[in-house]
Amino acid sequence: MSRWIALGLRSGVRTTRYPSHADPEAEIAPSAVIADLAALTPAQAAEVADLCPTSAITIEGDRERGGIAFDAGQCVMCGRCVRAFPGAFAFSPHPEVAVRSRGNLRVAAHWAGGSTPAVDAAAAELKLRSQRLFRRSLHIRHVDAGSCNGCESELQLLGSPEYDLHRLGLFFTPTPRHADALLVTGVVTRQMEQPLRDTYDAMPGPKIVVAAGVCAIGGGVFEGGFMVNGPLDRILPVDVYVPGCPPTPLALLHGLLVAVGRGAGRYRAGGVSDGD
């Protein structure tokens, strides 16, 4: 056993310095796409909407009065739009892509006017009291409500030496009774809705709900499936949305920090802002 301890010590510190320092890994494995929709002509817009495998890029209305909309909450990061129209779509170089309001993941442009971010007026404000309560330590209950297991793979890696979520006071807990936050992955299938509701009800208040991955946020490629009861915010009140397919470990760390008020949800589908 001493040899294992020696090996562990010899390996040195591999842990990211995020969030106090930027992590170069964020640019290599992007966490979201950002869109400059005004750069597209109506014809290009129609072409890119056709390329998109989900409803992340949609055309609204006709060529005169219509427009194009981008929804990062439905973007599965397939990269087709980025490769075809690099002037209008780009991978975000930042891992800070979690937001508190679903509307902040959307942006729209109209042929008649300029780009207007579709900001949700009734933004879901996280309760300040619970933010203060969980600031130093957050116990997370994870529920897989019908994922592909990509999200679980990334969540498991949060415990690896590279990310080590415990250093930030974040812990997965095996019981809903000890949980402050419910982290949900997957589309919420018909057969997982009840176990998910039961878990939420078993948690003491105040409680935070985090939707991780586009399946939980909007359904992604499974949107509208007859076995899909989601998206999650149709079933539970969601406080933080972490986009991605799956969300990168850095994006998940940021999302959890946003949930406890230690990070700002600066991501906007049309570019970064000062915070929400």
């Binding site: 562990g8 992007p30 990509g150 890696l157 690896s160 095996p174 499974f222």
Partner: protein, 512 residues
């Protein structure tokens, strides 16, 4: 003449078209049971699926023979919704028939245990693959499924799941125990059922490819590769040399991150936290190289019909090449330490045993199959992509315990690195042929060897490049079948986490 051709000839099966290394036959429904029983005795039944829709339902069985590159597909057109069950004569057909029964509403007459496989509270008479369900509101009140339990003096039940204690996939297990020993394990799967194959119907091939990439996350590439190869074979599309090499490379990278991840969880399950962290670190390193190559850690969004969405960047390939000796050195050092850690070996040796005799009729695949004497590996038996140009070995063991499964994964890690070295040594400069992407009406089987084992996808395309039907048979479907038995055979309750980690079975792949 090969085993499969010979058997088909003796049975007098009618030829039903063919593709490269894919023999297609058909027979009358009355002759189906006899033909399948004969073939299953000489060859391996690798898949059994139904196609229902506008026309009369049909059943297709996929066979392969050990050491032969060919596949044999035998199809029969049913006249009604009932057919004689293959299960009494061919055990492996059992779960396939249960799936056909609940998803397509066909009746395998004489099936000895026709319980539900994945549907829980589902109304009778609305098979998901067949009923016209547009919205979930269409689904009426259901009939609950039943989980069998063991009765007896002192026997109690301990449930686990569906929501698990850590960040794990959802599935429910019921431990029937007398105190320490596991008498029997009952499982309830299907919580994550999304009916992925049905969702693809009518979508374009490119949209369906995105679904195939999301059938499962850690095996995204091998599933998508089998799907894409099925489409390419159905439309007779050739793939260039460099794309074939890149596909092989990514197939091996996916195997590496899966094996590193599975061993990490096994080490954690035995309480060996340093080993768990070291292997997780290796997995993370592989995922980062994947992201450098494709901008996606799980290799999504890179495959395209006829090749790749974009060539792999040369700089990332060079970085990968420089990392290989480091991966080999680190994993060999860890392997040696694991072997010399007696408390670890004690936990995995003779734990979760799947005997050769019990496993054999299940036609298991991947490291789980190879740990029980099943000498099957698609990369060697049915070479695809660039596997005919690389040299590697396949390890087969017969102990069938957690240690054997671990040994095979450790061996395959070294072989994967060896394959990557060979590929990068002679990386093709270009594809040499212009990619063609003219989709044609047709159907074909595609396959790949994922980290979990043989992955089969069958597609039927319509003329305008859309999916008419798609059948996915990921490795987890086969390997879940004997899982409960492996849990119960002489193990204690505390062995369960070790057994689960040593199998590393995917719920998403099974539930679909």
């Amino acid at each position: 003449m090969t085993t499969l051709r010979d058997a088909a000839h003796r049975l007098g099966l009618a030829i039903d078209g063919a593709a490269a290394t894919e023999l297609r036959f058909r027979c009358a429904p009355e002759a189906f049971l006899g033909a399948v029983t004969t073939l299953a005795a000489e060859a391996v039944l690798a898949d059994l699926f139904a196609v229902t829709g506008s026309g009369p339902p049909s059943l297709t069985v996929v066979f392969e023979a050990v050491g032969e590159p060919e596949w044999l597909l035998l199809r029969t057109q049913l006249t009604g919704d009932s057919f004689p069950s293959l299960t009494p004569a061919t055990h492996v057909a059992s779960w396939y028939e249960r799936e056909i029964h609940e998803m397509h509403g066909l009746q395998p007459a004489g099936h000895p245990a026709l319980a539900r496989l994945r549907l829980h509270d589902w109304p009778v008479g609305q098979p998901p693959m067949r009923a016209t369900l547009d919205r979930r509101l269409d689904i009426g009140p259901g009939v609950p499924s039943v989980v069998p339990i063991v009765h007896g003096q002192g026997v109690f039940q301990l449930p686990l799941g569906p929501v698990r204690s850590g960040p794990q996939e959802s599935g429910e297990f019921l431990f029937n125990s007398g105190g320490e020993d596991l008498v029997a394990v009952s499982q309830l799967l299907g919580f994550k059922l999304r009916v992925v194959e049905r969702l693809a119907e009518g979508r374009t091939v490119d949209q369906a490819l995105n679904l195939a990439e999301r059938l499962a996350g850690v095996s995204a590439f091998s599933n998508a590769l089998a799907f894409v190869q099925a489409v390419e074979r159905a439309s007779a599309i050739n793939v260039g040399a460099r794309s074939r090499a890149a596909r092989t490379l990514m197939n091996e990278l996916e195997r590496l991150h899966n094996h590193f991840g599975d061993i990490s969880r096994l080490a954690d399950a035995t309480g060996l936290m340093v080993a768990g962290a070291q292997y997780a670190s290796l997995k993370e390193d592989v995922l980062r190289r994947c992201a450098e190559l494709t901008r996606h850690r799980y290799l999504r969004g890179i495959l395209a019909v006829g090749g790749l969405q974009a060539p792999l960047p040369a700089i990332a390939l060079q970085t990968l090449r420089r990392r290989l000796p480091d991966w080999l050195r680190r994993s060999e050092r860890l392997e040696k330490l694991l072997e010399e850690t007696a408390i670890f070996i004690d936990r995995v040796e003779t734990t979760g045993v799947l005997t050769r005799e019990y496993a054999a009729p299940h036609n298991l695949v991947g490291p789980i199959g190879r740990s029980t004497g099943a000498d099957r590996d698609c990369r060697r038996d049915h070479p695809y992509a660039a596997y005919d140009q690389v040299i590697f070995e396949v390890l087969v063991k017969s102990q069938g315990d957690a240690l054997a499964r671990l040994s095979i994964r450790l061996f395959e890690i070294r072989q994967s690195i060896r394959i990557l070295e060979q590929l990068l040594e002679s990386w093709p400069e270009s594809d040499e042929t212009a990619p063609s992407d003219s989709l044609a009406t047709g159907e074909a089987l595609g396959w790949s060897e994922g980290a979990g084992g043989e992955t089969l996808h069958w597609v039927a395309l319509t003329g305008d490049g859309r999916i008419a039907r798609w059948r996915a048979r990921p490795p987890a479907f086969v390997n879940w079948h004997p899982y409960a038995e492996a849990c119960a055979s002489g193990n204690n309750l505390t062995d369960y986490p070790v057994i689960e980690a040593s199998f590393g079975l995917s719920h998403a792949e099974f539930d679909r």
